[in-house]
């Protein structure tokens, strides 16, 4: 059975979640590998969420937020950008390919962009193949 | 009297020939006993310069003025103009005329004090009396506009009586499957609002009721409502439906636009509010001929169905009335060259809306219309799927022989129907015959381009006639852009019918005393900047009853009407038709 990746996506309630809904109302088709979790702001996404996702066997993590300057809470997305750069460096040491996580700014009107992003990321993850973190963790324990 | 009210008294100069007199003790009396905050003593310049007068009233923030002195009514008119310019009632200017005996003798001084006292109390009471306009509101018609208006007012903490002619609220919108341009389902938008109306403590819902008489003055309307019987008690009915199963009488369901049959005792549609059964008086055998009565026997709740219920008249006091009685679709049978009524597979857009609806006769499948054994036309799932569908725009609209106005929504809902057909029958060929494609609102033009890209053929040219030739619907159209005659054989034709004023519109306009335009739509006093205000203060119009419009505009107009009501209740006075300074009187 062809490998169907599982990607955990953290979407901020005001911009990217609305964008995903817009992709829905405009009936844009994209690959069903995304598992969307809604948070109030991209600033709320802390590194533990991303590592927990990998620990639970996710093949990729997508973090979405509002465009810089559009954040409903003024600065949440700047904080998320800073944390993301840190996590990107950090997961290399844990042996996770950096392409498995991705940060994207999606505004409330960019439904089409969200659909393309989902397909694109699924494709990159398919090329990388399933993540082996979960298997390694089970061997260690 | 709300804290925003301030009374001012102006002692006017006596007319020429009288010498001005010292009024100091009179002023002391007024200030100490009557506690009038603003006292102006014999201002010589005040009434000669209009802007100075306006400036003084605005500076002191006066909301009502007493003109005292000898024959002060000389100045009443100019002060009234100033007050109306500031948005207050002309009646807020009161006269205290001391008569000719200006000289302050002992005997006259006493009755001058009494006069002032009486005038002052009259002004205070008047503010009291006019502030007590009825806080309740009556909303006639429970379509999306009526529902929205009721919710706006009820959520502001005021009581609303929602009067609906049919058995359930929801109006025409409840019949639609999807709504343009976002294609979210009508039920998902309407049902929560209906639930909120059904459960709202401040909204009293009266179904099967009609307004029969309105009297009283603006702000204190006494409305008599005639509630025809449902024959099923709303409180005790548990909506189990056994009565409907056993009922022997079957009639065509007007909610499903005649595409399905329903029993004499029925629930209009599964998500109806109130979610209870009712009996159709004309169809029920017991009410017509006194036979049957099966429903009473099978009903698990004793005494729930009372077949002897009689219509009753209820008197309601209301300060404002919002009319939102919607519209009536154009009877497609009036144009016989389209063959509606003669050929089964010529449907009106409302019938198709029901056919394609998940809760419709075939669960959303598009099938041919066939006639069952008893001769009434029904839709069944296995009667085959049409492959070529034509949608004809402007049926009955933009036509001097029927309705010269444009019904504004048919272009968009035709595009939506074309999309829904494309979604359900990907292989079908869909044609739309239109004159001008009117996709004017937010997101409408993008929706129009998207439908064209989906392969729906847009043909500029109105079909003239439809004839059934050996099973196919033969269509003659001139394709103007391609410069050719089109002779096509279709499987199904959808007529995009326009909107007409509701049947009871004329009756309602007479009862309420509001005027209608030449087509029968309610007329707003100043359509350009205030489309909800009618010629009678306290009566507002909202939604399609004022003119064809789509759902977002109806919702906005309903809220606008609610604004008028809230404003009149919260500001304790009823602004009559637009308060304009004299110079701008509208002819």
């Amino acid at each position: 059975m062809e490998f169907e990746p599982k990607i955990v996506a953290f979407l901020c309630n005001w911009c990217s979640y609305t964008g995903a809904d817009l992709a829905g109302t405009s009936r844009m088709k994209y690959s069903p590998s995304l598992r969307i979790i809604r948070v109030m702001c991209s600033g709320r996404i802390c590194p533990t969420f991303i590592f927990k996702a990998f620990q639970e066997g996710a093949d990729g993590v997508l973090v979405c937020g509002c465009h810089p300057g559009d954040c409903h809470y003024n600065e949440g997305n700047y904080k998320c950008l800073r944390r993301f750069k840190l996590i990107e460096k950090y997961i290399r040491q844990m042996g996770i390919e950096p392409d498995r996580i991705r940060l994207a700014w999606i505004s409330a009107s960019e439904g089409k962009l969200f659909a393309e992003l989902a397909n694109e990321m699924t494709q990159t993850i398919k090329n990388l193949g399933p993540s082996t973190i979960k298997a390694q963790l089970e061997q260690m324990v | 009297m709300s804290e925003y009210d301030r009374i001012g008294i102006i002692f006017c100069d006596p007319p020429s020939g009288y010498t001005p007199v010292d009024l100091s003790d009179l002023i002391i009396f007024v200030r100490d006993n009557l506690k009038i905050p603003v006292i102006i003593d014999q201002p010589r310049y005040l009434f000669s310069d209009f802007h100075v007068l306006m400036e003084t009233i605005r500076h002191h923030r006066l909301t009502s003025v007493i003109l005292a002195g000898i024959r002060p009514e000389r100045f009443r008119q100019i002060v009234r103009t100033a007050m109306t310019k500031l948005g207050y009632q002309a009646e807020s200017v009161v006269i205290a005329d001391f008569g000719d005996t200006w000289c302050v003798y002992e005997s006259q001084v006493q009755n001058v004090y009494e006069l002032l006292e009486r005038v002052h109390s009259q002004v205070v009471d008047k503010r009291h009396q006019s502030s007590h306009i009825q806080q309740d509101t009556i909303v006639i018609g429970a379509g999306i506009a009526g529902i929205q208006a009721s919710l706006e007012i009820a959520n502001a903490g005021l009581k609303v009586y929602l009067i609906e002619k049919s058995g359930t609220i929801g109006g025409h919108m409840a019949k639609f499957d999807k709504t343009f341009p976002t294609l979210d389902c009508a039920a998902c938008i309407l049902t929560p609002k209906m639930v909120e109306v059904g459960q709202h403590p401040l909204i009293e819902l009266m179904t099967c009721s009609e307004v029969v008489a309105v009297n009283g003055t603006p702000g204190h309307y006494k409305v008599t409502v005639r509630q025809s019987p449902r024959w099923v008690d709303v409180k005790s009915c548990i909506g189990c439906g056994t009565c409907s199963e056993k009922c022997p009488v079957k009639v065509s369901s007007e909610f499903d636009e005649g595409t399905t049959m329903r029993k004499a005792i029925y629930m209009p549609f599964p998500q109806a509010v109130p979610n209870k059964y009712l009996i159709d008086g004309e169809a029920c055998r017991f009410i017509q001929e006194g036979k049957c009565g099966v429903c009473v026997k099978v009903c698990p709740v004793t005494g729930c169905i009372n077949l002897y219920e009689v219509p009753r008249e209820i008197e309601i006091e209301a300060g404002n009335i919002i009319v939102a009685n919607g519209f009536k679709p154009f009877q497609a049978s009036r144009i016989d060259r389209f063959g509606y009524g003669k050929y089964p597979n010529v449907l009106t857009s409302l019938e198709f809306e029901r056919l394609i609806n998940a809760a419709g006769p075939t669960g959303g499948e598009i099938t041919f219309r066939t006639t069952d054994k008893k001769g009434n036309s029904v839709f069944v799932n296995d009667s085959g799927k049409p492959q070529k569908i034509g949608i004809i725009h402007c049926v009955g609209s933009r036509d001097e022989n029927f309705n010269p106005y444009c019904s504004k929504v048919c272009c968009m809902y035709s595009l939506k129907l074309a999309h829904l057909v494309r979604e359900k029958l990907p292989s079908a060929e869909i044609f739309e015959y239109f004159i001008d494609m009117r996709a004017f609102g937010k997101g409408y033009e993008e929706f129009y381009c998207r439908i064209q890209d989906e392969g729906v053929r847009m043909i500029r040219g109105k079909t003239a006639r439809v004839d059934q030739i050996d099973g196919h619907l033969h269509l003659r159209t001139e394709d103007i852009i391609a410069g050719r005659m089109l002779e096509q054989d279709m499987d199904m034709i959808i007529l995009s019918i326009g909107l007409e004023p509701a049947d009871d519109q004329k009756k309602l306009s007479d009862i309420l005393g509001i005027d209608v335009d030449e087509y029968g739509w309610f007329k707003a006093v100043r359509y350009e900047i205030d489309p909800v205000r009618t010629n009678r203060p306290g009566i507002w119009i909202a939604g399609v009853c004022q003119g064809p419009k789509d759902i977002p505009d109806s919702v906005v107009q309903a809220s606008a009407a609610a604004a008028g009501v809230l404003q009149s209740i919260m500001s304790d006075r009823l602004t009559d038709s637009e308060v304009f300074p004299l110079t701008y009187m509208i002819n």
């Binding site: - | 402007c394 022989n401 004159i435 109105k462 159209t477 410069g483 005659m485 089109l486």
Partner: protein
Amino acid sequence: MISRVDPEFKQELHKYGLREWNECFHCGNCTAICPLTKDDNLFPRRGIRLAQMGLKKQLVSSVDPWLCYYCGECTETCPRNANPGELMMVLRRYLTSCYDWTGISRLFYTRKIWELAAIILIALGVIISFLVFLPPSPDLFSKPQAFINEQGGVMINSLANGISASRFVQLIEYGDLLMAILVAGFLISNIFHMFYRVILSDRNLKFPFYSYFTEFWSLIYNFVTQARFSKCDNRTYWIGHLLVMTGYTIMFTLIVAFLKEFQIEEIKPWYHWQRLLGYYSTFGILFFLIYTFIGRIRKTDLKMQFSHPSDWMFIVLLFFTAVTGILIHIFRVSGLPAATYFTYLIHLAFLVPMIVIEVPFSKWSHLAYRPFAVYFDRLRRAGQNRQSIVELTPAI
């Protein structure tokens, strides 16, 4: 090629009757409802469009108006009440004035008094020349029996003073021939002008030469049967039209070609071919005239509502010609020579202007233009050997 829009054209067209047709918003309902429209003949909408835009060249080169027989269904169902049917009538009048290279018919259509003046002028000319060449013999009143033949009828040819019967008929024949040549000359030149405008001026229209002849049968067939007229729902018009057309043609051929056999001295029995033909054509003409008079006055039917003076002129002249013709016959049979002579004179006074004015320059010219229009249309169709460029819909 680019053509320039001309808003003035509307004013010019208004002179040919009917002012309100400009609010047509091109819904295509009239073209769709008309039973006669086909792919290239998208009238009446195309005609309205060209008239609205003032594209004179395209208007004159299109034969569409001649293919419409004014059943009135388009005007009935027009959503904007823009009278497409009546506009076709107006365009026919306009085209008549365009085909006429002399400009006389434009004069008649645009200024009605000219037409009236021309008719009166010709009538007077006929009367005077008749009185000069064929003066009434003096004893018409004193000795009427001199002109009665053995059956008691008037010997029509010998009424003139000092002119033998055969000479009388010969002179009338010369007059008829002269008139016929005149009329035919104008008519044929106008038809050729129409041919030039419709076919020749269209550079990129090429069609095989032989189709001139293969399509020619359509000209005759249509001239005789007006087959297209029968397709309109209301057929009484078609029958009425057939009657008057056959009646008129018979009378015309009798007078011009067979005058000698027709206008003879002795009174033939009623079953004689000459009488029968006479009765048939008068009946045909009278039936049509009465039907049209009632229609135009009561204005019940749509096509009768807007009567242009040129319509009335033509019917009135035909009516008087027919009436005087009948009177001649009655007076002849009842033996009143004077009455016969003078009615004969009046008969000619109505007949000649009708033929000289109406046929080439006014409404009557449609007898030629309509069949030719069908003929030219078939020529154009043969030329384009129509394959639809835009395969939009498989039009079954």
